[in-house]
C-alpha cells in the first residue's frame, strides 16, 4: 500500500491527493479486476469436470463431490449435508429413486434413512480435474502439433520481420516513381479481412501445391500489410541526415539498412515480433482450411478436434487452450524488456 501511496504522491511533488491521482488509482484498480478476472476464471474452469462446467451458478474454484468410504459398500459414497425436521447432519447417499434418496450415516451404516432430495445438498471440496490435461496428451500427438506450431510461428515471424522491414525501408527512405501507389495499395489491402477471400486464396494455395503443407500456412500471412505500415510509420521518424552521413562514409545501401535503420527501428520491430508471434500462434481459421492431415496439424487445429457437430468437449478444449497460452505469455515477458530497452536506447528523444 505504501508503494501505491508513494507513486501517487510523487507526481505532484507535494502531499495531498490530486484528482488525477484518484483517477489513476481507480483506473488501475479496476483494470486488475477486469483484465485478470476473466483469465483467472478461464484457468480455473480448465480444471473443472464436464458436469461442473455446465453448472449454474458457476463457482470460481473447481470442486469435486466429497465421498466417504462406508462399511458394507464397495465404492466410496457421495456425502451430503441434510437438513430436515431431525436437524442438520452429514449423510452418505446409497441410491436415489425419484425424489427420495436412501442415505446412511457413515458412523452407523446399517440403518438406511429415506430423505427427500429437496432437503439435501452435496458436500464438495476443492479438487482439480487433472484428467482434462492428461487425457489429450495421451490421446493426441501434441508433441508433433507443438513442433509444427513452433515452426510456423518462428519461420513466419522471421520472414515477416525481414521482408516487411526491407519493404518499409524502401517505402520510407527512397523517392521513386510509384511509391505512393504501392503505399496506397498496401494500406487498402490492410482492410480486407482474410475471412472474405477464403475461396480464392484456397484456389491459389492449392494451385501452388501447398495444401497440407506448413508453408501453405506461413506464406499467405507473412506479407502482412500491417507490418509494413507499422514499420514504415516508424522509419519515417528516423532523420534522413543520419543516412546521408553514412553515405558520405561510403556505406552501401544494404549496410545503411542493416546497420543504421534496423537498429533504430528496434522498438517497432519488437512490437511487430510480438504480434507476429501471437497472431501466428493463435491463427485458427486459415490453418484449419489448409491443414487436414494430423502430421501437419498446429496446436490450434489439433485442439479443435474436440469441437463436434452437436457437442463440444469443453473440458479438454479449455485445458488445451491454457497450455497453448503459456508460450505466448513467455514470449511476451521476454520481449517486453526489449521494448523498454529499445525505446530508451534509440535516441528517439
Amino acid at each position: 500500500m505504501s508503494r501505491v501511496m508513494g507513486f501517487l504522491t510523487r507526481r505532484k511533488g507535494g502531499t495531498g491527493w490530486d484528482w488525477t491521482d484518484v483517477f489513476t488509482f481507480v483506473w488501475l484498480g479496476s483494470a486488475v479486476f477486469i483484465m485478470f478476472g476473466p483469465a483467472l476464471w478461464l484457468v480455473m474452469s480448465s480444471f473443472k469436470s464436464p458436469a461442473q462446467l455446465s453448472e449454474f451458478p458457476p463457482t470460481l474454484l473447481p470442486y469435486e463431490a466429497q465421498t466417504v468410504a462406508v462399511e458394507g459398500y464397495d465404492r466410496p459414497l457421495p456425502l451430503f449435508s441434510v437438513t430436515d425436521e431431525a436437524g442438520t447432519r452429514q449423510l452418505a447417499e446409497v441410491r436415489r429413486v425419484g425424489t427420495v434418496a436412501q442415505m446412511v450415516d457413515p458412523a452407523n451404516p446399517t440403518e438406511v434413512q429415506r430423505i427427500n432430495i429437496a432437503n439435501r445438498t452435496p458436500m464438495r471440496e476443492v479438487g482439480f480435474s487433472w484428467d482434462n490435461y492428461l487425457d489429450p496428451f495421451l490421446r493426441f500427438d501434441f508433441l508433433t502439433y507443438t513442433k509444427n506450431s513452433i515452426f510456423v510461428t518462428g519461420v513466419a515471424t522471421l520472414i515477416t520481420l525481414l521482408t516487411n522491414s526491407m519493404a518499409a525501408f524502401a517505402l520510407s527512405k527512397y523517392e521513386f516513381r510509384g511509391r505512393g501507389f504501392v503505399v496506397v495499395l498496401i494500406i487498402a489491402t490492410l482492410m480486407i479481412p482474410l475471412s472474405v477471400i477464403l475461396v480464392p486464396l484456397y484456389s491459389i494455395v492449392s494451385g501452388v501445391g501447398l495444401i497440407n503443407s506448413l508453408w501453405g500456412v506461413i506464406l499467405p500471412t507473412v506479407a502482412t500489410p500491417t507490418g509494413v505500415f507499422l514499420l514504415r510509420q516508424y522509419m519515417l521518424t528516423i532523420p534522413d541526415e543520419l543516412l546521408e552521413a553514412a553515405r558520405m562514409d561510403h556505406a552501401s545501401e544494404w549496410q545503411i539498412y542493416w546497420r543504421i535503420v534496423l537498429p533504430l527501428t528496434a522498438p517497432a520491430l519488437a512490437v511487430l515480433a510480438i504480434f507476429s508471434v501471437v497472431w501466428r500462434w493463435n491463427d485458427f481459421l486459415w490453418p484449419l482450411i489448409v491443414l487436414s492431415r494430423q502430421e501437419v496439424y498446429t496446436l490450434q487445429v489439433g485442439l479443435n478436434a474436440y469441437a463436434g457437430e452437436l457437442n463440444v468437449q469443453w473440458h479438454y478444449l479449455l485445458a488445451m487452450t491454457v497450455i497453448t497460452m503459456i508460450p505466448v505469455v513467455l514470449v511476451f515477458i521476454f520481449l517486453q524488456r526489449f521494448i523498454t530497452a529499445g525505446i530508451a536506447g534509440t535516441g528517439l528523444k
Binding site: F7, A31, M166, F169, M191, I192, S252, F275, N282
Partner: protein
C-alpha cells in the same frame, strides 16, 4: 537475468549478422550495376512477390467471382452474370426501410458495422489514451501494469469470445454475482443494446493493451524538458495536454487510429463467438455476413459474398484515402521541422 538476455541475444544476432555481412559484397555490386532504383527493387521484391501472390491475386480473383454465379466453387466452372450479384445486393423497393431490400441482412450488417466502427474506435482510442497517460506517470512496477493491460492481446480471439460468453450468459458468472447480491439476473446477450455494447466492450477489452502500448511508446519519446518548461510557465495541465502531448503524440496516434479502424471493420471472431450475430440480427456484422454467405453455409454462394466484399472494400478504400491525406499533412509537418 541480463546474462540470459545477452546470451540469447547473441545467439540470435550472431548468425544473422554473419549472413548480413556475407550479403554485403554481392549487394554492393548490384548497387553499382543497378543504381538506387535497383536497390529499391531489391528491398521491395521479397515482400511484394509474396504480397502479390497471396494477397493481391486473391483480391483480383475475388472481383472475377463477383461477376459469376452457380453451384461450382472454382472459377472456371462458374457462369458469368455481369453485375447481377451487385444488383441483388443493392436492390431495395424503399431505401428508407432496410427490410424492403432484397438482401435485407446485407444492409443490416452494413448498418451494424457502421455504428460499431464509430462507437468502438472512439471509445477504444479514448480508453487507450487514458491508459497510456496513466502508465506514463512515474509508475512503480511499470512492467506489471503494462502486462495487465496487454495480456488479453495474447489470447486468441476465439478464446476471448468464449470467456466473455460464459461471463455474460444467462447462466454466467456476472448473473451469478448479481443473484448473489440479491438482484435479478439480466439476459445480457438477449437484449439488443446490451449485446451490442457487449460486442464493443469485449473487443475493447481484447485490443486496449496493444494500442495503449503504441501510445505509451510515443509518450515516452516526448522530451521531459518540454513539460518542465510548461510547468515553470504555470501552464494548465489541460493546455499542456492539448498543446504539447497530443501534437507530439500524433504519429503514433495516426498508427493507432488506422489500425483500430481496420480492426473494427474486420470485427469477426470475438463477436461471432460472443453473440453469434444475435439477438436477431442486432450484432450481425459484414464480415460475418460474407463469411456465412460465401463459406460457412452448406450451399455456398461465393459470387454474392465476393460482391459484398467488394462493396465493403470500396467503402474502406475511401476511408483509407482520407486517412492518408491526414497522414501526409503530418509527414510534411515532420519534414519542415
Amino acid at each position: 537475468m541480463t546474462g540470459v538476455k545477452e546470451v540469447l541475444g547473441a545467439v540470435v544476432a550472431a548468425p544473422l549478422g554473419w549472413l548480413a555481412r556475407l550479403l554485403d559484397t554481392p549487394l554492393r555490386l548490384w548497387q553499382r550495376l543497378a543504381g538506387q532504383n535497383g536497390m529499391v527493387a531489391f528491398f521491395l521484391l521479397p515482400n511484394m512477390a509474396i504480397f502479390t501472390v497471396f494477397v493481391l491475386l486473391p483480391l483480383v480473383i475475388n472481383i472475377a467471382y463477383s461477376m459469376t454465379t452457380g453451384a461450382a466453387l472454382f472459377l472456371p466452372e462458374r457462369t458469368y452474370v455481369g453485375a447481377a450479384q451487385f444488383e441483388r445486393l443493392l436492390r431495395c423497393t424503399d431505401y428508407t426501410d432496410l427490410m424492403t431490400c432484397q438482401e435485407d441482412q446485407f444492409w443490416i450488417a452494413l448498418r451494424n458495422t457502421g455504428s460499431f466502427v464509430v462507437l468502438q474506435v472512439t471509445l477504444l482510442i479514448v480508453a487507450a489514451t487514458i491508459t497510456a497517460l496513466i502508465l506514463n506517470r512515474a509508475l512503480r512496477a511499470l512492467s506489471f501494469w503494462r502486462a495487465v493491460f496487454f495480456f488479453p492481446v495474447l489470447l486468441s480471439p476465439v478464446v476471448v469470445g468464449l470467456i466473455w460468453r460464459w461471463i455474460l450468459d444467462r447462466n454466467g458468472v456476472l448473473n451469478a454475482a448479481l443473484v448473489g447480491m440479491g438482484m435479478d439476473p439480466v439476459n445480457w446477450l438477449l437484449d439488443r443494446n446490451y449485446a451490442f455494447s457487449a460486442a464493443i466492450g469485449v473487443t475493447i477489452w481484447a485490443h486496449l493493451g496493444f494500442f495503449a502500448l503504441i501510445l505509451l511508446a510515443g509518450l515516452q519519446a516526448i522530451p521531459r524538458d518540454l513539460y518542465e518548461a510548461a510547468e515553470m510557465d504555470g501552464t494548465k495541465p489541460a493546455r499542456v495536454f492539448w498543446r504539447i502531448t497530443l501534437p507530439l503524440l500524433m504519429p503514433n496516434m495516426l498508427v493507432v487510429i488506422v489500425l483500430a479502424l481496420i480492426r473494427a471493420v474486420q470485427v469477426f471472431d470475438e463477436a461471432y463467438v460472443l453473440t453469434g450475430g444475435g439477438p436477431g440480427t442486432a450484432t450481425l456484422f459484414l464480415t460475418q455476413y460474407i463469411y456465412e454467405v460465401g463459406f460457412a453455409s452448406l450451399l455456398k454462394n461465393p459470387g454474392l459474398a465476393a460482391a459484398a466484399s467488394i462493396l465493403m472494400g470500396g467503402v474502406l478504400i475511401v476511408l483509407t484515402l482520407l486517412q492518408l491525406a491526414l497522414g501526409r499533412k503530418n509527414e510534411r509537418k515532420g519534414k519542415l521541422k
